[in-house]
Structures are given as structure tokens and as C-alpha cells.
Amino acid sequence: MRNVGVRFGGIVALDDVSFEVTRGRIVGLIGPNGAGKTTLFNCLSRLYQCDSGDILFDGSSLLRVSRHRIAELGIGRTFQNLALFRTMSVLDNVMVGRHCRTGSGFFVNSLRLPGVAREEQATLEKAQALIRLLGLGPVADARVADLPFGTQKRVELARALACEPKLLLLDEPASGLNHEEVGVLGKLLGEIRDRLALTVLLVEHHMSLVMSISDRVVALNFGKKIAEGNPAEVQQHPEVIQAYLGGAA
């Protein structure tokens, strides 16, 4: 992945932002509320139209790819305000995550041709493995809407991992989690990255988490990139300190 540059018109939610995400790294994306972090994710998953600039993934532009093809290319994501399939079970949610890696359609499904049962079994096994990995085993058959917030966040993560992404976009995975849960999440993310050879773009307000697991950090403010570098550098950057102090005041 190289040369991710995005501009976004109207209200300038993203203004001439460029950065690269190197394969296999965890890149933290920080910035005060309204900085444009979620907007950037939405451009990447084609929910928003970029007004200028280009986004390259594995060397080819994403801007001509339709929304439902993004997952297939290998970009998975979670949402800042959970976007789970609320009436479905945890298992079914994760199985939907496999959609882009499976292919049976209306016709073969209604006849339940032999291939369908095989594909379904493989989907089930993959989903169950992810559910175990994320410690969701005990609630696998529960409706997601009935689960606590922190658990739902893990379901979203499992669902995003189900499509075997190369690049995982995590939008504030630690928000709403307590201190202990944040620690667990940090370890989990590192572990997942190593095990699944993932690249992660992480939006997070929880500074200690971002700084501890990110290889690189990009800081945004008012849609502009204000700093980029390794965690220690960015943390010391005067504009970043200014943005956060200003944002808090």
C-alpha cells in the first residue's frame, strides 16, 4: 500500500492528506473528535466519495472499485458506532463476514447442491475458529443485541477478520472498554497481527494503547495531517500537543 492521499470536498473533512501504510505494520491514526479519521475510513471502504486525490491499495486505485468489492480485495473494517447485524447470533454475524470469500448464489442455495453444504461447513469451521480466538465461545449462539458493549466490539472484530483481510481498519476499538479490557485488546491486536500477517490502521483516542502497539502514528486535525512518525516523535510533536490541549479546552 502506498501513497494514500485523500481530499474531501464540501465541508473540508479531509484536506490533502497523504500517507503510506506499510505491509505488516500497525499504523495509529489519531486526532481530536471531528478531525476526519472516520471520514478517511469511509473513503477507504467507499462509503464516501473522494472529491480529489486517489487511494491506492496494492498498487491499484480503490476509487473505481464498488463498495461490495472492497472486502474481497482484502480490506476489512469495524465501525466506530457498532454496525452489527443485531438480530443475528454471534456465529451468524461472523459467518456473514465470510461472505466475500464464498460464492454460492440463490439458485444453488435453494437446491442445496452438494457444493453448498461443503462451503457452508467450511464457513462454519472458520467462523468457529475465530470465535474461539476472540474468546466468544460461550456466547456464540446469543443474539448480539443482547450482549454487553465490549463483547459486541469483539464480535465486530471477529466478523472483520472472517474475510481474511490484508488490511484491517479499526475505528476506536477501545472506546467504551474499561481499563483492563483495553489491556487485553492491545495484546490481542498484536497477537492477531503476528498470527494473521495483517496490516492494521488503528483509529484510537486511547493514547497509551495507540502508542504501545503502533509502529507508526499519523495525526490529523481539522482534516489536515499535522504529524507523522514513530509513536515517540508524534507524541512530542508541538502541533499534536497543541491540538489535544486545544481540543480538550
Partner: protein
């Protein structure tokens, strides 16, 4: 499927098979209509219950199926059973094509678009340029099929009502198995995912536009095949039997029976077939008022439909058994 579900299913099928030998011909005809409505409701439930697209115009697809059958039998001498696949294919195509532009419409706006379809079709059927085909206001009368001689030679004498009942039952079983297969796998999950969270569904790689249009087509096909069977059972089609009221009654059926439930289609069909009759017996003067009372009662007592209420009752029984 669990063991208990299999036992219940076998019992219901056994009951359905002996029913025509226990009740009058008229009742057999009524139960035939119940099965037909169940197929129509299943179609609508796939669209509205599972996929979240509200249709106030499915009576139009029922009418389309019915007219396909009537015209093919009346003008072309096609045997009644051979008209079903044609009616199904025509409605599949129309449903898909209607579903494409309807993609831009969400919720109540889609409901209005389908409502427009539902109110306009009966009038189109009366259109004088089409009268040669549709029979205009008079409609088309078709002959009642007899049981094939084959059954007589087996020593099984079926009168036409019984034969049609079994014919419909066989079609219904096929349609229900196909729907069950469709809904329990990858496609079924995609339908519900789109209903629950369409943005996330697309982010998971679901081609929401395609899936929604195809679902519209499949739904229309089910309701169209039901219309086709309905025409054969009633031996008559006319524009006024497919007015907008039919579409609304279908919607009532899936809500009362249970949204996003396969068995709900059967409960809903029993409701829309028999509750008006019961209401009529209670008060000849204001049967629809009585119907309304029933409807409110059902919705109030079983907010998740009959299927939902049964599911909850079974779950409660299971817990009680575990506790003792």
C-alpha cells in the same frame, strides 16, 4: 433441524394428507386455499420479513400468476400443471425488474411504490386493448382439472377438490423446502444482514443491489405461483378479485403469522382464510369490524406473530423441564 421439529413436521404433513378424507369438499377447497396463501405469504415474508423490503402490492404478482395460468389454459390449451413454471418465470422476471428501480427507495417510499403497482394492475387488466387476452371485466373461466386416471387405477378415487388439494400440497412442499434451503445458508444470512445493517452488509462484500433485486424476483415468483394455483383452484380470474385489499391482507398475514419465519406463512394463511369466515358468522352486519377485533387481539397478544409466540412457549417449556 432438531428431532422435535422433525416430529412436529411429520405430524403436520400426516394431518395434511388425511385432512381431505375427513372433511367436506368445500372445506377441502378452503384448505387448498390456505396452502395457496401460505405459498404467497412465504414469498412476501422472504422479501419483507427477511430482507426488510416492505411491499404493499404483492397482490399484483398474485394476479400476474393467476392470469398467466388462465390465459395459457384458455387461449393455448396448456395443461394446468405446465402453466406453473411459466407463471413463476414471468413473475420472477417482473419482480426482478420492479426491484431494480425500487432499490433507490427505502422503507415507506418502497411501500408506496409497491402500493402503486398493487392499485394499478387490476385496472390494467380491464384495459380494452388487452380484453382479447384477459377477458376484461368479465375475467376468464377455466375448467376444473380431474385427478389423473393413474390414481384411479391404484384404487385411489380422488374427487377434483381432493386431487387439487394434493396437487397444491405437493407444490407447496417443494416451494417450502426450496425456501428453507435458501434462507438457512449464505444467501439467507445476506438477506437478514441487509435488513439489519445494510452499510455493514456491503462492507462484508454483499452486493446489496443485486441481492435485493433477486430477492424481489424470488418473492414475486412465489406469490405468482400461488396466484397460478389460486386460479386453478377457483377456476376463475377477474380483475376485481385482485384488488389492493388482497395485497394488504397478505401483509396482515405475514405480520400475524410471524415476520421472518417460514412456518409463520402457514399460520398467517390460516388466519387470512378462516378469520374472515368466523367474523362473518359472528356478525353478518359488520364482519370487518369483528375481523379488526381479531386482528388487534392477535397483534396485542402475540407481538412477534404466532410463530414468535410458539417459539417463546417452546423455549419456556424447555426451561421448565430443565428446572424440574
Amino acid at each position: 433441524m432438531s428431532r422435535r421439529q422433525l416430529i412436529v413436521l411429520a405430524a403436520v404433513l400426516a394431518l395434511a394428507c388425511v385432512l381431505p378424507f375427513l372433511v367436506s369438499n368445500y372445506r377441502t377447497f378452503q384448505f387448498n386455499l390456505v396452502i395457496i396463501y401460505a405459498i404467497a405469504l412465504l414469498g412476501l415474508n422472504i422479501l419483507t420479513g427477511y430482507n426488510g423490503q416492505i411491499s404493499l402490492g404483492h397482490g399484483a404478482f398474485y394476479a400476474m400468476g393467476a392470469y398467466c395460468t388462465a390465459i395459457l389454459m384458455d387461449k393455448f390449451g396448456v395443461p394446468y400443471w405446465a402453466t406453473l413454471p411459466v407463471a413463476g418465470a414471468v413473475c420472477l422476471l417482473f419482480g426482478f425488474l420492479f426491484g431494480l428501480p425500487a432499490l433507490r427507495l427505502e422503507g415507506l417510499y418502497l411501500a408506496l411504490a409497491t402500493f402503486a403497482l398493487g392499485v394499478s394492475l387490476p385496472q390494467l387488466l380491464k384495459y380494452h386493448q388487452l380484453e382479447n387476452w384477459t377477458g376484461g371485466v368479465q375475467g376468464i373461466v377455466i375448467a376444473k382439472p380431474e385427478a389423473p386416471a393413474f390414481f384411479g387405477s391404484l384404487g385411489l378415487r380422488l374427487n377434483p377438490d381432493q386431487w387439487l388439494y394434493f396437487f397444491t400440497l405437493a407444490v407447496a412442499i417443494v416451494m417450502f423446502v426450496l425456501a428453507w434451503n435458501l434462507l438457512r445458508g449464505r444467501v439467507g444470512r445476506a438477506l437478514v444482514a441487509i435488513r439489519d445493517q445494510h452499510v455493514a452488509a456491503e462492507a462484508m462484500g454483499i452486493n446489496s443491489a443485486m441481492v435485493k433485486s433477486l430477492t424481489f424476483g424470488v418473492s414475486a415468483m412465489y406469490t405468482g405461483i400461488a396466484g397460478s394455483l389460486g386460479a386453478i383452484a377457483v377456476q376463475f380470474v377477474a380483475p376485481d378479485s385482485f384488488n389492493i385489499f388482497l395485497s394488504i391482507v397478505f401483509l396482515v398475514g405475514i405480520v400475524v403469522g410471524g415476520l421472518a419465519s417460514i412456518s409463520g406463512a402457514i399460520y398467517g394463511a390460516l388466519f387470512i382464510q378462516f378469520v374472515p369466515n368466523v367474523a362473518d358468522e359472528i356478525s353478518k352486519a359488520a364482519p370487518w369490524a369483528i375481523f379488526g377485533v381479531f386482528l388487534i387481539g392477535f397483534v396485542y397478544l402475540m407481538p412477534m406473530g404466532v410463530a414468535g409466540a410458539l417459539r417463546m412457549a417452546v423455549a419456556r417449556l424447555g426451561r421448565k423441564r430443565q428446572n424440574t
